[in-house]
Amino acid sequence: MPRLGGRNVLMKRGEREKEKVSRLELGSRGIKCVVLSDPLKDSSRTQESWNAFLTKLRTLLLMSFTKNLGKFEDDMRTLREKRTEPGWSFCEYFMVQEELAFVFEMLQQFEDALVQYDELDALFSQYVVNFGAGDGANWLTFFCQPVKSWNGLILRKPIDMEKRESIQRREATLLDLRSYLFSRQCTLLLFLQRPWEVAQRALELLHNCVQELKLLEVSVPPGALDCWVFLSCLEVLQRIEGCCDRTQIDSNIAHTVGLWSYATEKLKSLGYLCGLVSEKGPNSEDLNRTVDLLAGLGAERPETANTAQSPYKKLKEALSSVEAFEKHYLDLSHATIEMYTSIGRIRSAKFVGKDLAEFYMRKKAPQKAEIYLQGALKNYLAEGWALPITHTRKQLAECQKHLGQIENYLQTSSLLASDHHLTEEERKHFCQEILDFASQPSDSPGHKIVLPMQSFAQLRDLHFDPSNAVVHVGGVLCIEITMYSQMPVPVHVEQIVVNVHFSIEKNSYRKTAEWLTKHKMSNGIINFPPETAPFPVSQNSLPALELYEMFERSPSDNSLNTTGIICRNVHMLLRRQESSSSLEMPSGVALEEGAHVLRCSHVTLEPGANQITFRTQAKEPGTYTLRQLCASVGSVWFVLPHIYPIVQYDVYSQEPQLHVEPLADSLLAGIPQRVKFTVTTGHYTIKNGDSLQLSNAEAMLILCQAESRAMVYSNTREQSSDAALRIQSSDKVTSISLPVAPAYHVIEFELEVLSLPSAPALGGESDMLGMAEPHRKHKDKQKTGHCMVTTDHKVSIDCPWSIYSTVIALTFSVPFRTTHALLSSGTRKYVQVCVQNLSELDFQLSDSYLVDTSDSTDLQLVPLNTQSQQPIYSKQSVFFVWELKWTEEPPPSLHCRFSVGFSPASEEQLSISLKPYTYEFKVENFFTLYNVKAEIFPPSGMEYCRTGSLCSLEVSITRLSDLLEVDKDEALTESDEHFSTKLMYEVVDNSSNWAVCGKSCGVISMPVAARATHRVHMEVMPLFAGYLPLPDVRLFKYLPHHSAHSSQLDADSWIENDSLSVDKHGDDQPDSSSLKSRGSVHSACSSEHKGLPMPRLQALPAGQVFNSSSGTQVLVIPSQDDHVLEVSVT
């Protein structure tokens, strides 16, 4: 609400208005407004009446103003609505709306006043924009008259009446209108204590005006606008300075610096325009232009005439001479840069700095320009702005050239020559600069200019040949590199050198020849990442923000106290960035001088990719690391200080070696087998006549084949040649002459070897499974189960490169396992031989023989095998049977040798005849002495046996022969020319079909005479119905306790059997009950009980007892009252 005090002034001025208000008020109502009491009376009534009067007056005044202003605004709006009509004048309307602004201003309503000007401003701007779009108002053409005066803004007077009048007269130019409008806005803003808005608006205005003049195509003399802007900037700045103190200004640089910068820029362009920047000073044309520009300024205004530092005076002075211009320009520039820097607008500071550098360069002061150019370049490089980099670098190159910084200049030139943002000509120019310098005869020979290679050429990839980058001593290594030349023209390079660092890693397996040749297998190509310079990767390498929510709750009621976001990796992100890359710092590159270098001379690098091949002969074994790459062009050296990723090659030396290994997983005895010989020559060169001398193992033949050939490979497994192998054999030695082979090659050949079948094996006792056991002087490995028996053969080989023999062990496996068994049928005897093929191969068996080695004429072995040829497949068995026949008394033992010829089934024809496979065994006590016959009869009166009913078991033991040699043991008793022996029988039913009732065993005295028979009767009860096998009847020899064999047992047996013997001691006479329970124990252990001083049992050899009733069955029918039928289903 307006204050009353402010209005008093207005009341005096606009008295007419007030009267009008009162009249209106009175006229319409026709009543009294106020009743006033005598103010001299001091009563409450008086005071009240006055108070009421004043309040009423205030309200009415306000109402009056509101009403009037409202009416005025309505009128004004009506006028504005007519703006599309022809003949409407902006200037006229301007005056109307300004009147309103004046009213507000007088009412101290600066805000409202400002709004009026802003509306006018916006309206005018809109017209200009519309004019630009082709929608022109004809009154606007009035503002398009050529600019003749450019004396800048005038802000020191509240109202520039001069300009106002020109607007009123419709004579104002665009600049006049804008200037006046802004001066009014400025005044109001300053009333409102908003000086910074002035600065901001001023900058906008200045830009705006320039653009509007362009848009309206107003003709402006060159430099006029620059003058106007320059003056205006300074005027605004001085106006602001005039109403603020220093600290306020210093803390609001951000608002004013734009004006400073603009002023600097404009002064610069004025300087260039008026020839004040050139070295020679302005020429006459420049001077004319200066005079014209100064004329446009007019005379200085009286209000600033006394000010020493007025914008007018400054401009006039600056344009007056080269020196004055320099002073003013430098002052402004430095001030601007300082301000920008202080508020952190580094980019803007660098941009102004770059202009300043340009100025210095014009003034031939490159030493001053350099720092600004470097600073700007560093900034652009850090942010990767390609074009500014190129432009700044170009200026820097010129600067460095003037300064005579040869190295820096050449480096910058190389960077520019490789810069694709420059034209081909410019690039060629800079490239030529380098080449020109390089071709100059150097003052001090040997002086090198070392430059980074990066800009000259880039290392793209590297390729080793051999590809595994491993080479033997004396071998040739090729390294092919691809260099991508950045130069626009072909460049002749005197030499390209790779410095190599040599190191020996001893005692490291990783560096042995074996490891290197086998493991270091790569494709041999190393790619180098393309350099991203000049674009920094710093931003990408920064880690991502790690943000976390953070809640802090009060411990008492768990309510949220604070919350926020925490960045966990601030330390990473806010770390100070490495000050710019060393790209521009050639001094950082050190040239390494090493003893080992790879060199390539006289190369012309074409633009783009170039292949360069280095060739070296390996000398010392060790690891070679490629460190630096240098290319020399005259005295200029381009150096790549570090080759990364690390590139290495290895040189090794190797001792000659011989390896012998079977081709298959295992070697089989008895048939020819192939064995591979590998000779790694290492550093030894195989000469003509060098041979391997193999000392023959007695049971292993080396089969000489005429067609065997040897292959020669290089160490990298490339075949180089092959040659026939000459093998000479004598009794003791086989000599293999090696083909001629250079060092670091591999000779491979195969030989056939034959392990002779093992010597005859002696079979065990006839009742045991015989196992072929080749008895050799070598260690035999016999494994249980189905593993083959193996035999080792050791061969000692003399190699030409060593005085020592190499001993090689070859392990052969016997493919067969043979077992034998004695079979009986009454007194007739058969020998069965089982051959089991354990190998993976199929064989053909032929010509099986079984001969009696004792060669008794009495004995005949009649083969029952029909086929002479018999295939035996892998993992299968073949059985052979012979019948034993004799005419006279049979021999107590029989030594047999089984032999069978065999050959691999797959092969058609073998070059050599193979030895048959033999197997020897011994069969003892094979003649049948006793026949045991058991019969079961149903109870008397019954046709069949019934379950649960007792049946009788008749066992008859019949002696089949008279006294024989085998009977002569301690059980034999002689009385009256009659011999008898003690036997123990035992009836055991392991399948629990029968219950033996009463004694199940007993000792009988058997006369040793043919046909002597002993019968035993006992009762058994069938437990199940059906065809039941008869219970076993076992026969043992019952030996008296005075044993002659006791000494044969060792102490272990004593202890082992102790408990059993004590147990047995209790019942000397073995009775049925005790024996029944231990029957099986006895039978198994009986032969081991010999040493005890008690009667012992000895099992009769299987061949001596024939059980004629074995396999017979008895029909048992179920008992009638037994209705339970057990059915077991399995």
Binding site: G132, A133, H207, Q211, I346, R347, L387
Partner: protein, 128 residues
């Protein structure tokens, strides 16, 4: 954090320019200073006209991820809404680029589709 340019395009219809390419980059680069200040004062992504250089103006737009779009133009006629729409479409397309799993954030944008869409947006909103 440095402001490495990740995409540049010349959207002008008239190929003849009274401003050299490097100067336009200088102006844009310099105006980043203003953007850096305005970003924290404005709650909008579109920052309007932030800088002028002679008769050139720079408008800016800053995404929430602080990717800045700068447009240097000469014609004063542009309506703010058009500029804003233009920037919004560029922003939308930029997000599509970001969605590409093969695009590394802050990497140079080489997508031709993006380029095409930016030109289309320019045609729609700027070349009237």
């Amino acid at each position: 954090i440095s402001d490495v340019p990740i995409y540049e395009a010349d959207l002008s219809v008239v190929k003849k320019k009274d401003i050299s390419e490097h100067l336009s980059q200088f102006i844009l680069h310099q105006s980043l200073d203003t953007v850096d200040e305005l970003v924290w004062r404005s709650s909008h992504m579109y920052l309007k006209t932030i800088d002028s250089f002679n008769n050139y103006s720079v408008s800016a737009y800053c995404t929430p991820g602080h990717i800045k779009f700068l447009l240097l133009y000469k014609n004063k006629n542009y309506i703010n809404d058009n500029l804003r729409s233009f920037f919004e479409i560029v922003h939308e397309n930029y997000i599509r680029v970001l969605l590409n799993p093969l695009y590394e954030p802050n990497g140079i944008i080489i997508s031709s589709l993006f380029d095409q869409n930016v030109h289309l947006a320019a045609k729609k909103f700027l070349h009237q």
